[in-house]
């Protein structure tokens, strides 16, 4: 049987404190995985540090594109180099390398095109958050589930695995700004099978969430608008 080529896409913006730990945890988990770090215009030397370590390939964006543009660069990289499976894995240390096999399995089995690592599936007490954040996540859950007829509990999770078909699609079509909930709709509307698997995640170690205060209101509005419009757009024709 042909061995699947697996790529771990790690978007990183100013993660010089965490990035090497993240990469070595990935290498320790499975040294066969290829890793690409998309350095999203970091100013703290994240890219150089990663390159020196030799743990991963580094694509340095010439300026900061934001998480959506960075992750999409990873999909383009995966498509260009003929990878069968891509895993999206945050560079800030909140995702756990040990959980990757769980979200890989359905893609390997061919039972899903996309697998989302969810913090909320089942009775999960391990993850707490503020009231508003949980409310927002709940809203996404209801809306997305209705719109694509697939129950997705954790729409904001950036811990995901994709098969070749999904990689090729997302290399051409991926939302910017706050892409995760939008990507769910986009994939669902275009006929991809999405599955969720319960995975553990760490609370962030350093730094603040990129979304807080007035920004979170903008975030909700922007994403809801995008979700609604993605729903009314016609399906995207593949190549």
């Amino acid at each position: 049987m042909k061995l699947n080529k697996i790529l771990i896409i790690v978007p990183a913006f100013n993660e010089s404190k965490n990035i090497l730990n993240v990469l070595s945890s990935l290498k320790n988990e499975n040294s066969d995985w290829d890793i690409v770090v998309i350095d999203d215009g970091s100013t703290d030397g994240t890219g150089g540090l990663t390159e020196q370590s030799g743990l991963a390939s580094v694509v340095s964006l010439i300026y900061n594109l934001g998480i959506g543009g960075a992750v999409q660069t990873g999909f383009k990289f995966a498509k260009m180099n003929g990878y069968d499976i891509a895993v999206q894995f945050d560079g800030d240390g909140q995702h756990l390398a040990g959980e990757i096999p769980k979200i890989l399995q359905p893609v390997l089995d061919g039972t899903a095109d996309v697998v989302i690592g969810s913090r909320f599936l089942g009775k999960n007490a391990g993850w707490k958050s503020t009231y508003f954040r949980r409310l927002g996540i709940r809203i996404f859950y209801i809306i997305n589930s209705v719109l694509i007829n697939q129950k997705i509990t954790d729409n904001t999770s950036g811990f995901r695995a994709y098969n070749k078909k999904a990689i090729s699609f997302l290399a051409e079509n991926y939302p910017t700004d706050y892409p995760e909930p939008e990507a769910v709709i986009l994939l669902g509307r275009n006929g991809f099978t999405i599955r969720e698997i319960f995975t553990l995640m760490k609370k962030r170690e350093g730094g603040k969430s990129s979304i807080y205060g007035i920004k979170s209101v903008y975030y909700m509005l922007k994403v809801l608008l995008a979700i609604f419009l993605t729903t009314v757009r016609p399906k995207i024709k593949g190549d």
């Binding site: 964006l61 543009g69 383009k76 910017t176």
Partner: protein, 135 residues
């Protein structure tokens, strides 16, 4: 009594104003605007496709400044009490349309810019790889 008179003048417009003046100003003004846009296109400071709306709007101004009753006709047709408000409407609509076109152009540019950045960064990566291999 005199005070009341001057108040009336302020609120209801000045009777002895020569409204021909504003017509001249309007004609010259909109003609200059029209020619200015045309000149910018000639000098390739504005692309043809982005000048059409400007030229159209300045042309509307020009027509309205020649055709004195135009604004009355427009306000009557739309049920607007004063021609001045009709003019304001025409003006804001014109500006709106242009600004929306700007948003479209900017969005398109942003999308292309993103794509270029991604492709360029990937090509740079490949170049680096190749140089390393040759060493």
């Amino acid at each position: 009594m005199k005070n009341a008179e001057s108040l009336k003048q302020i609120y209801y417009g000045l009777d002895n104003v020569n409204i021909n003046i504003i017509q001249y100003v309007a004609i010259v003004g909109s003609l200059l605007l029209f020619l200015f846009v045309l000149e910018l296109v000639r000098r390739k400071k504005i692309k043809e496709q982005y000048s059409i709306l400007w030229l159209f709007i300045t042309l509307v101004f020009l027509i309205l400044s020649f055709w004195r009753d135009g604004l009355y006709v427009v306000s009557r047709a739309l049920g607007i009490a004063t021609p001045a408000i009709a003019f304001l409407l025409v003006l804001t609509m014109g500006v709106y349309v242009i600004l929306i076109q700007f948003s479209m152009v900017i969005s398109n540019l942003a999308e292309r810019n993103k794509k270029l950045t991604q492709e360029l960064s990937l090509v740079k990566y490949q170049m680096k790889l190749k140089i390393k291999e040759e060493k």
